[in-house]
């Protein structure tokens, strides 16, 4: 990597690779942005491990920050170099998931929910309860993401438990088991969801808040996000700088740019995005913007539960459970 290249590792189509943003950043700083992508967190970790020194910025779900730090994959960030860092909401900036021994290993970027989304054509008025998914009327028209952790955490919410401290696994399993016959398919990408809604194949399912917003505002699909009264899973995405990054200065500049309100507003309006961790950025949105009105609603804030890091053992246990459920339904 050349000194003034900034190598960024992120999901594809997730802000950092927007051509207009990249162009603006390059124009402002003279650095050149090179994007690389991953398809799963595990893969992201593998890519960092097997390419030491290649990446300058990497986007890591806060729940995985721990693991990356333990593996000595990322380095502390000098937040003083990031003027916009001051505007990050305090609870997020100070999240124990990102700050270890007082050092900042991740700069919060955006957060969002895995909640429910509905096909508006199938509902006269939006449901309020997660129980809607179990309603026989929707048999065969329910979707859920093919992700063991999320599915189990979702089961926890449905059974009224803390997603980060599930006490009654059996209840979760029973609840999910009874959900399986309702299900049409397991989605894995935004595209899946949108296609299915577009062809009116589904009524309801779990979905990401930012994606639901994008589907509605950008693609004009009949999609509405529902944050059920039982709660929803929330996640926080943050930027980190890998150990051995060759262009730390560039990385800092890039991260700062990414949490800048100007970028954020443009991102939301042009493309659709999750909620920024920068309070100023959210405030810069129009009054009735989804990310401000719904996501900023304190009622909603009370109901959501942020994902905390989980151990490998837990993860494997969840996967085993999830696979068993999928096999049993065959």
């Amino acid at each position: 990597a050349k000194a003034d290249d900034v190598h960024v590792l992120n999901w594809k189509g997730y802000g950092t690779d927007e051509p207009w943003a990249v162009a603006a950043f390059e124009k402002a700083t003279g650095n050149k942005v090179i994007n690389d992508f991953f398809n799963s967190e595990q893969e992201m970790l593998t890519k960092i491990r097997t390419n030491p020194g290649l990446y300058d910025v990497v986007m890591i779900n806060a729940a995985f920050n721990d693991q990356a730090m333990d593996g000595k994959l990322i380095q502390p960030i000098d937040t003083s170099k990031l003027p916009n860092y001051a505007d990050i909401s305090k609870d997020k900036a100070g999240s124990p998931m990102l700050v270890h021994d007082g050092k900042v290993y991740g700069v919060p970027w955006v957060w969002g929910l895995t909640a429910l989304a509905i096909n508006e054509k199938s509902f006269d008025k939006p449901p309020t309860s997660i129980a809607e998914m179990w309603d026989a009327a929707h048999k065969g028209r329910v979707v859920i993401r093919d992700d063991a952790v999320e599915a189990v955490q979702f089961g926890a919410i449905a059974t009224g438990q803390n997603i980060n401290d599930i006490k009654d696994m059996d209840a979760v399993k029973a609840k999910l088991t009874s959900l399986m016959p309702q299900i049409k398919t397991f989605w894995s990408s935004e595209n899946d969801w949108n296609q299915m809604v577009a062809s009116n194949q589904i009524d309801i399912g779990t979905y990401w808040s930012g994606s639901a917003d994008r589907a509605k505002t950008h693609f004009k699909l009949p999609v509405a996000l529902v944050v059920p009264q039982e709660g929803a899973v929330a996640w926080l995405d943050a930027f980190s700088i890998p150990v051995g990054a060759k262009n730390v200065a560039g990385a800092e500049a890039f991260i700062n740019y990414m949490i800048d309100p100007k970028f954020y507003v443009e991102w939301v309006t042009k493309v659709g995005a999750p909620v920024s961790a920068n309070t100023k950025a959210v405030e810069a949105l129009p009054e009735d913007a989804f990310n401000r009105k719904v996501m900023g609603d304190p009622e909603v804030a009370k109901r959501i539960q942020f994902q905390a890091p989980i151990t490998d053992a837990q993860r494997e246990a969840y996967l085993a459970l999830w696979q068993q459920l999928k096999v049993d339904v065959k």
């Binding site: 960024v8 594809k12 595209n191 949108n194 577009a198 062809s199």
Partner: protein, 262 residues
Amino acid sequence: MATTRILEWVGRLYIWLLLAFLYLPIIIMALMSFNVSPFYQLPFEWTTEWYASLWQNDQLIAATWNSVEIAIITTIICTVLGSAASLALYRYEFRGKKFLQALLFPPIAIPWLITGTAMLIFFFGVGIGRGLHAILLGHVALALPYVIVVVSARLQTFAPELEEAARSLGANQWQVTRRVTLPWIMPGVIAGGLFAFAVSFDQFVVSYFLATPGQTTLPVEIYAAIRKGFTPEINAVSTIIIVVSMALMLLTARFFKFGGEK
């Protein structure tokens, strides 16, 4: 005579039905590249917007070129190495031949995901690293077994006395191979080459692991794109590829005869 004719027509009809089955998704893909909705939504609304935006999408175009180049090089290397290996397996008897033949199956049987991961680690470990060269290395290895299996199947039908006849006329091993054996197995080599191209061109996993940022291949672009929303630009580029290759192939078929007479 009459039944022969009828059977011939039934046969032709059947081939057309098969082609219809094979091309059904391709036609839909092409149609959707002209549809406004990126989610295959009906009713159909005509647009060429996706072609226009494809034209702007340097990254996708660059990735497509990378794919084409890698697939072509892979095809060439695979057909050469694969045909040579098949010939050796056909011509000579030696101990361990069965074992070598069995070794062709792990690359096919082990899901590409595992192979790709293994390559990533191994290439990282021995310093081959990532990049187009690594992708090529991987693609050739994945496609080779297909070529060998296909060419070997064709070789089974070869009459060995033709090689003898050629040698009795003073042809050395290489001349025999080039002038007598190769023409006979050519349909097999071509089929193997087509498979190799397909394996490489549609190879996502290995490319994905071995690609470096900025230098990717078309499947990698496509798979990464679906997270956000799969744009019909991809349909557009796929349509262009199919149309161009179809034109090339029909042209080839017009000028070369390889399935040909006995």
